[in-house]
Amino acid sequence: MTQSVVVQVGQCGNQVGCRFWDLALREHAAVNKKGIYDEALSSFFRNVDTRSGGDGPDIYKGKIYSLKARALLIDMEEGVVKEILQGPLRDVFDSKQLITDVSGSGNNWAVGHKLYGYQYRENIVEKLRKTAEHCDCLQCFFIIHSMGGGTGSGLGTFVLNLLEDEFPEVYRFVTSVYPSGEDDVITSPYNSVLAMKELNEHADCVLPIENESLFDIVNKIHQMINFGKLGSTVKQNSLVTSSAGSAKTVQEKPFDAMNNIVANLLLNLTSSARFEGSLNMDLNEISMNLVPFPRLHYLVSSLTPLYTLADVNVPSRRLDQMFSDAFSRDHQLIQADPKHSLYLACALLVRGNVQVSDLRRNIERLKPSLHFVSWNQEGWKTGLCSVPPVGHSHSLLALANNTCVKQTFIELKDKFMKLYKKKAHLHHYLHIDGMEQSCFSEAISSLSDLIEEYNELDATKGGPRMDPSRLQIAV
């Protein structure tokens, strides 16, 4: 069994991360009734005997003493991390896993990446090494951050770079929250594009998330709960929106529900690696199957169900609805419609009491309405995990490498160009040591190239299929 380390950077990263750890504990608590520290738990948690005060040695087997998250919390201002450490999750984090400063990054990528990056490099490396040492077999780093600000965006991508240098064999999965349409940070386009270059070059897989989509989803669920469809009731203690039953007792912050969705994404992504199933799907398989060309590693994700019905014995029809939903526009975590764009590859990770025939039936059913690239007509990667998420009898995570993601990038580029043409706010960046005009031009060029690659693939869509001729063998 392998371990993964979560690196949460910046306000957004830490808030999402916090939800993730809360939900992870709940999920394992629901599955692990005996309180034995098992391999599934060890993928994200260490087991430490803290009775002797301070940090005891790791305990690999037997009873659970004190679980410590395999995480690094990084923020250049103290507020968010402090709140986490005063909250109910304080025991899950080790003070040695934190890196904080006081003044923040001022929504400036250059401050996060160049200034703080340089300043904290050694500190970060040392803490990463320590965390890695506690792992028997470290497989993956999960970075959680936002693109629009300064710390998550700048320092977050600095850490990404660092991870590639220091741990080249370990996978780097990045969950990036892209700025929404009505984002109030003026410089978010600069920050996002500068960060994109780093993601292009150093990440193995990126899961882009847009706040607008999360917001729409949360609204939909609230409507269902409040107005309920005819003849159905909605389970309210589903982990998706509600933190009820979890560690929080204060009133929920507005972003909590949205962050829960992202946290669930990460839980579902790693479920088949942690729990058993008839067709396992490990993290290295996700990267292998969904990234046909090194730079095209942006995966559009969707989660279903987002609510559950009261009756547990869901007949097949409802199960099929789950599959249909996964491909609908409203369930995607970015503002995109993969159904009308071109699929390069698609992965379906099912949890719960679902069998291979259900999977096959639904793939057959949905295939005709989806466009797959000519060289990957049956490009499906499937996984079956027997353990369902808390509060549901089954769930589905769909990850698509689809050209619809280019829309997000095109909009980003447009917003960037609007500012850049007028050289607005550039001086804030350029006066940071290590920043030059070329950083900007290289970044936008990298983004343009990426968009172009997607365009080229789109151009092949719907065209006549020219299968290359086969090798001829002399008889």
């Binding site: 497989q139 396992n280 490990d282 290295n284 060309f293 097949s316 990957n376 490009g379 499906w380 086969r470």
Partner: protein, 453 residues
């Protein structure tokens, strides 16, 4: 003589476990429909092949379990032990932590060499437990990373370490609508490499077994376990003891050797398909009766029409009439869908097998002109019924059965290769474009050989 089973990857281990289950349950069953003496011989022969005697009462499977991540093996070991009827040797497994990531190159070039010594030591240990070793039976899927890549490497090592033993690879063909996106690459690499070191490849296609589960076994929500149990039943019907032409009073001692001798006359032709009839849900067995002529007629038509199961057989397909003077095998007279065979083996189990007439399988029109049906066809029989079926007929065929699936897989892989998609994932671990081209060439050769039969 004994067979050592090597279970590779998730698929290999899940199926392997069902195979031992099926064999053990058949031997334990009271539906042998034969004399006590017969039953005892059968029991002893089966035990010799698949299980070793330990101090404990429970027979221990002669198997080595290999996987690059621990979950499946630990599940398999514990479920087997819990049954109380048989178990695995707890020392006979090897696993790592991280899996092969569906990457053939990772399985073959990284995990293979790295763990060669440990794995071969385990195999050696099992082999030494056998009084006489018939050979190795490896179970793997082609689609993933461990079964396919590491499996190909291990097969090579087995060939090097045991040059005189037989190696039969049981290969699972993935669903054609995709379980793994790079499955076609992995399949092409696996098949081309296995062809070099293995004696024969016995193939099961997930699509076919799935249909059997749906249409014949009437299973509503088909799980991999259901699929694996059908596969295990079919394999059991091949490997359980039988009498060959050599002796009808002693069960054959060399199952793998007999199989190879019969079915693989030429190293260019190693692809074996399997058909077993009848297949039905257990609770229907009591209400069904079969006759040998009926079963044999169906089986033969399944052979020549390339039918995957006993429903939906195309009875229009007929062998070409002999007497027309076509000297070479490049016959244009053969009807398009007619399945030509290199060699066939029919195994009959159950009541009154002595009365069964297999003459129709000796029809020369089934085979190319350069083969004599006397050499190309063999029959094995036993009066001991298998797995609660009063009568059961199995066909193992070296024929054009797998030509179309093979051609499809190579076609899709080539299509993807032309766009260079995913190649960087393989070159990262040392498999270059040239290696791909070599594999493609090798398989086009195989396709060509089978096509011109």
């Amino acid at each position: 003589m004994s067979i050592v089973t090597v279970q590779l990857g998730q698929c290999g281990n899940q199926i392997g476990h069902e195979v031992f289950n099926a064999i053990c349950s058949d031997v334990r069953g009271t539906h042998g429909l034969c004399s006590k003496k017969e039953n005892e011989s059968y029991h002893d022969a089966c035990k010799e092949r698949f299980f070793s005697e330990e101090e404990s009462e429970v027979p221990v499977a002669r198997a080595v379990l290999v996987d690059m991540e621990p979950k499946v093996i630990s599940q398999t070991l514990s479920i087997a032990a819990r049954s109380g009827y048989w178990k695995y040797d707890v020392g006979s497994h090897f696993c790592q932590k991280q899996g092969s990531g569906n990457n053939w190159a990772n399985g073959y070039s990284v995990h293979g060499p790295r763990h060669k010594e440990v794995i071969m030591n385990l195999v050696q240990k099992e082999a030494e437990k056998c009084d006489r070793l018939s050979g190795f039976f490896t179970i793997m899927s082609m689609a993933g990373g461990t079964g396919s890549g590491l499996g190909a490497f291990v097969t090579q090592c087995l060939r090097d370490a045991f040059p005189t033993s037989f190696i039969l690879n049981h290969v699972i063909w993935p669903y054609s609508t995709g379980e793994v996106i790079v499955q076609n690459y992995n399949s092409v690499l696996t098949l081309s490499h296995l062809y070099q070191s293995s004696d024969a490849l016995l193939v099961h296609e997930n699509d076919v077994i799935h249909k059997i589960c749906a249409q014949l076994m009437n299973i509503k929500q088909i799980s991999f376990r259901d699929v694996n149990q059908v596969i295990a039943h079919q394999l059991g019907s091949v490997f359980q003891p039988t009498y060959t032409a050599e002796s009808d009073s002693h069960y054959s001692r060399n199952p793998l050797g007999d199989l190879m001798e019969t079915l693989v006359p030429h190293p260019e032709f190693k692809m074996l398909g399997l058909r077993n009839i009848p297949q039905m849900p257990e609770n229907s067995l009591a209400y069904s009766t079969f006759s040998w002529p009926g079963l044999i007629k169906h089986l033969r038509q399944m052979l020549i029409a390339n039918a995957k199961m006993e429903e939906g057989i195309d009875w229009q397909v007929r062998p070409p009439r002999l007497g027309s003077s076509i000297p070479s095998s490049h016959s244009t007279n053969k009807p398009p869908h007619f399945n030509t065979s290199i060699a066939n083996l029919v195994i009959l189990r159950g009541k009154d097998t002595h009365s069964a007439d297999l003459g129709s399988f000796r029809d020369p029109s089934l085979y190319p002109s350069w083969l004599s049906p006397q050499d190309a066809f063999k029959a094995w029989k036993t009066p001991r019924a298998f797995n609660k079926y009063e009568k059961s007929a199995t066909l193992v065929s070296n024929s054009q059965f797998l030509l179309k699936p093979l051609d499809n897989v190579v076609g899709k892989a080539w299509n993807m290769f032309a766009s260079k998609a995913y190649i960087h994932q393989y070159t990262k671990f040392g498999i270059e474009e040239e290696d791909f081209l070599d594999s493609f060439t090798a398989l086009e050769q195989v396709i060509s050989s089978y096509t011109i039969l």
